[in-house]
Point group: C2
């Protein structure tokens, strides 16, 4: 039986609120040791994503607001997707992680290129 | 025949000099679209590595010098290593990329978790 996104995704996803500052995002990434933070709106919906690369862009371009660096058009995955579907989606979009949305559109996990990469030791 | 690091590594690696500022590193990451920059010493040797996560740490902690955020103890790979060796090394060190050093210790590539992840579509 094939491996699905649900089998490899991180379930305790660290997120930030849309009202956060860039510095808040940087602090959460550092404290939690993550590079990707789904951004949650006041209505508890997925509003976007911000990554350590976006924070670097803020440093380079001297941006000061989270909305200037977050990506609103989020590429996501479903728990039942095969992992090669997720891997291909990341590759074609040149991104390293996909928030995973359940049937009601709720955030249920995060699947990463690193998480998929660690499965290679099993198949090769 | 098994897949080696040489088969999947990025060969035109973007690097920065040890004398660079944090802002230089952020600008190079943004312009080249990368998250990992091997740091090269004045003697053209691998002195360390700096990533977008390190730049975020600088934002969170208000560090101002590259040497305050770069990692000097670099985990590296060899071109002839099997990719599952590289994947395991990244997983056990909780990192996403390994500079690849040739026989003379020279930087010849960069192997990433994302690069290995894209192979999954081939084996599953
Ligand atoms: C196109 S990538 C290029 C740099 C590098 N490959 C990386 O992984 O960060 C950088 C951008 O992708 C965006 N991004 C990351 N994950 C995403 C996702 N799941 N959906 C949409 N955009 C995403 C980030 O917000 C960032 O602005
Ligand atoms: C331990 S990881 C944790 C965060 C996240 N997993 C990531 O990939 O960035 C963050 C640290 O790893 C360091 N790092 C990245 N690649 C490395 C490598 N090949 N060797 C040693 N340290 C590395 C970075 O400099 C950064 O300080």
């Amino acid at each position: 039986s094939r491996t699905s996104v649900q089998d490899v995704m991180i379930q305790d996803v660290v997120t930030i609120d849309e009202s956060s500052s860039i510095e808040d995002a940087a602090r959460v990434m550092m404290e939690k040791g993550v590079t990707h933070l789904p951004v949650i709106s006041a209505e508890r919906k997925l509003a976007g994503i911000v990554t350590a690369w976006d924070v670097s862009k803020a440093v380079a371009m001297k941006y000061t607001k989270l909305e200037e660096i977050m990506t609103r058009d989020v590429v996501t995955s479903n728990p039942g997707d095969a992992i090669d579907t997720a891997a291909r989606k990341m590759d074609s979009n040149n991104i390293s992680a996909l928030p995973v949305l359940g049937e009601d559109g709720r955030l249920v996990g995060l699947v990463t290129g690193d998480g998929i990469s660690r499965l290679i030791s099993i198949c090769k």
